[in-house]
């Protein structure tokens, strides 16, 4: 496998138990680093982590809060995962999510009187289409012009950010409102809540999508082709597959999923378009997908981990004074440790090789 050496991303295929153990070890190491920070602030880490747990999962109120935060992370995580399976790095989920939010708002504040299912379906579909159209550009440029998709999506995120800001302060601004925000969605376009909490039905949609994708990548030819396109595009090309077309499609679908994430966040949580509703969800999604080792079901779990961490950190701050932003350090450490441990077998091989080379002169 000479090709293997060139791939730093090729950790999609690993033995099953490893893909469960490594994230857990990564999370524990991340929490350990976090504990050191907490301890350095003169707070008992066990006490702090107890409050974190209490504020994130130990009551229905906190658990449902964590789940609400999980939904957009999981959806964008699935979007990132979808493209990453073909080794396309969609750093643009953030921008596609903005476009989706704008799309959903346009549908959601108009057409009162539509049946709810139709209205919500329309809003999500339009959001997805805008996200997909936005992702088509980097996808096409990557596949047909060989332009780095990371660079293009990164630049486009900023275009989307300022476009959203312009829309929400301009055409979609609520008349006479002091705040830059849109009109509220009409009731038939807001996602119903469940179990008397803030938890909206978007969570069911995410679970369904994750299960579908798990099946898709395991059992369908297209799913297999996608993974193969990332692993060895040349072989696939000789097998008669139009790899460029496939890669563009991959990016479009990824953008569609990210777009729906924007729609669901707006329709399920905020009820109207506001600036800064995302706070970097699309970037966190990269961490979510990586922690899950690109496993769709795992993505649900890792999104829940990040969602719970964020929710719990609020109560931890109130009780112990440890700032919420500390979870970003834990998050970063988890990414580093998980990716490092996923790469460990290869790293050890490389280091041994280097030693041998040195010995033999």
């Amino acid at each position: 496998m000479g090709d293997n050496n060139k791939k730093s991303l090729g950790f999609a295929s690993r033995i099953q138990w490893g893909s469960i153990i490594t994230p857990i070890i990564g999370i524990l190491l991340g929490l350990l680093v976090g504990a050191i920070f907490i301890w350095s602030q003169g707070v008992n880490p066990f006490v702090a982590y107890y409050y974190l747990l209490e504020g994130s999962i130990l009551s229905w109120a906190s658990l449902s809060g964590s789940l609400v935060k999980t939904v957009p992370l999981a959806l964008t995580g699935l979007a990132v995962l979808f493209s990453y399976k073909s080794e396309i790095f969609n750093v643009g989920a953030e921008g596609q999510l903005y476009l989706g939010a704008i799309g959903a708002t346009i549908i959601g504040i108009n057409f009162p009187g539509l049946p709810m299912v139709l209205h919500i379906g329309l809003a999500i579909a339009f959001a997805g289409i805008l996200g997909a159209a936005f992702a088509f550009i980097p996808g096409y440029l990557k596949a047909y012009k060989g332009i780095n998709e990371i660079v293009v999506t990164m630049l486009m995120n900023y275009v989307a950010l300022y476009f959203l800001s312009m829309i929400v302060q301009g055409p979609l601004k609520e008349p006479d409102s002091f705040f830059p925000r849109s009109l509220p969605m009409v009731p038939s376009a807001t996602l119903p809540k469940m179990f008397g909490s803030h938890l909206h039905v978007g969570v069911l949609l995410v679970i369904a999508l994750a299960v579908f994708l798990a099946w898709f990548f395991k059992r369908t030819t297209t799913g297999f082709k996608m993974v193969a396109a990332g692993y060895n595009p040349n072989a696939l090309h000789y097998a008669g597959v139009n790899v460029k077309y496939l890669l563009t499609k991959v990016m479009v679908v990824s953008g569609f999923i990210a777009g729906t994430a924007g729609a669901i966040e707006i329709m399920g949580v905020h009820g109207r378009l506001i600036e800064n509703f995302s706070v970097g969800i699309g970037y966190d999604a990269i961490a979510v997908a990586l922690l899950a080792n690109l496993n769709p079901i795992g993505t649900l779990l890792s999104a829940f981990f990040f969602g719970a961490l964020k929710t719990g950190a609020n109560s931890m701050q109130i009780s112990t004074g440890i700032p919420v932003s500390f979870v970003y350090m834990v998050q970063a450490m988890v990414i580093l440790f998980v990716v490092a441990s996923n790469e460990m077998p290869r790293i050890i091989k490389i280091i041994n090789k280097r030693r041998l080379v040195k010995k033999n002169g």
Binding site: A287, L336, V339
Partner: protein, 313 residues
């Protein structure tokens, strides 16, 4: 139209734009060096953020802004070292590491801000840099005075860094090594260049420049630190490098353009021109994209983002 231009393009506007461009130029000059060695460094924003915080905290606690700069530079070099160790020695994915570095920096700066300075909403001020004490005659020069002679030292360091990096790139052996490592590491290694060492040093340098850039943000003017102070400027610096096609002069020009866009945005808001102020800020991104499409990515170093394994066949 001419009237409109005379309202916008004032000496004050140009002076401000140069001030906005300064952190971008500094970060981009560090970035262009590591990108040319083949390391895709998206972690510039995290470095700038830590630089801004360290400069503020260092200046606050020592009472000396120069100590702040020193602490910022050292902190950011440590981040550069982390980037280098993980991507070069451990050969981890460069984008993933950058994501981690940016996330970590945001968490660390924000957490330390709260634990070191308390949660008071009153912005704390540290000692900072003020304008260079040019002779009054220079300061009072029409047009040139406000643009060039009412600036802090960072502006001059930034302007100077562009030709210096250009000179290093194209007139010294070091520059040759940097470019060779980014284009064809295998060949460079054969010629006796230590690829890993060049990349390590490039990332350390990028860190140092990121530290300067962060200091230019936090301790010239407001002399305070706020959460997420860089507001994505590290990514703008990255865009400048792309815009400038990995050439120091091009990247410097890109930074100037982004600075002008920011100045324009401010001007539109203060003068009350009926144009969405977001348009001038969006423009440089779109222009960079268009340039990428029109000119292709031919200028991208061939080994950009590709990890190097020294002993592979």
């Amino acid at each position: 139209m001419g009237e409109l231009a005379s309202v916008i393009f004032t000496a004050e506007f140009l002076g401000n734009s140069l001030r906005f461009a300064t952190p971008l130029i500094l970060a981009a000059m560090g970035g262009v060096v590591n990108e040319r060695t083949g390391v895709l460094n998206l972690g510039i924003d995290g470095m700038m953020l830590i630089g801004a915080f360290a400069a503020f905290a260092g200046s606050y606690f020592t009472g000396n802004p120069w100590m702040g700069v020193l602490i910022a530079v050292i902190s950011c070099m440590l981040l550069g070292l982390l980037h280098a160790f993980t991507t070069i020695t451990l050969v981890m994915n460069q984008v993933v590491v950058a994501v981690a570095i940016n996330t970590f920096s945001m968490g660390l700066a924000s957490s330390l801000l709260r634990t070191l300075f308390g949660t008071s909403t009153n912005a704390l001020r540290s000692p900072g840099f003020s304008e260079i004490g040019w002779p009054q005659a220079l300061k009072d020069l029409p047009f040139f005075g406000p643009v060039f002679f009412q600036q802090t030292i960072f502006v001059y360091i930034a302007i100077l860094s562009v030709p210096v990096i250009w000179w290093v790139f194209y007139k010294t052996t070091w520059g040759l090594k940097i470019r060779a490592v980014g284009e064809y590491p295998k060949a460079a290694e054969t010629m006796g260049v230590n690829v890993a060492k060049v990349r390590y040093l490039a990332l350390l340098f990028a860190g140092a420049m990121g530290g300067l850039s962060g200091a230019a943000l936090s301790i010239t003017g407001l002399n305070t630190f706020i959460d997420n102070m860089t507001a994505g400027r590290g990514f703008i610096a990255f865009a400048c490098i792309i815009f400038g096609r990995f050439h120091p002069l091009g990247a410097g020009l890109g930074a100037l353009m982004f600075g002008l866009a920011q100045g324009l945005q401010l001007r539109i808001q203060t003068v009350g021109i009926p144009v969405a102020y977001q348009i001038p800020i969006m423009f440089p991104y779109i222009l960079t994209l268009v340039l990428l499409v029109v000119m292709g990515s031919g200028a991208v170093p061939a080994a950009w983002g590709v990890p190097y394994y020294p002993d592979e066949e």
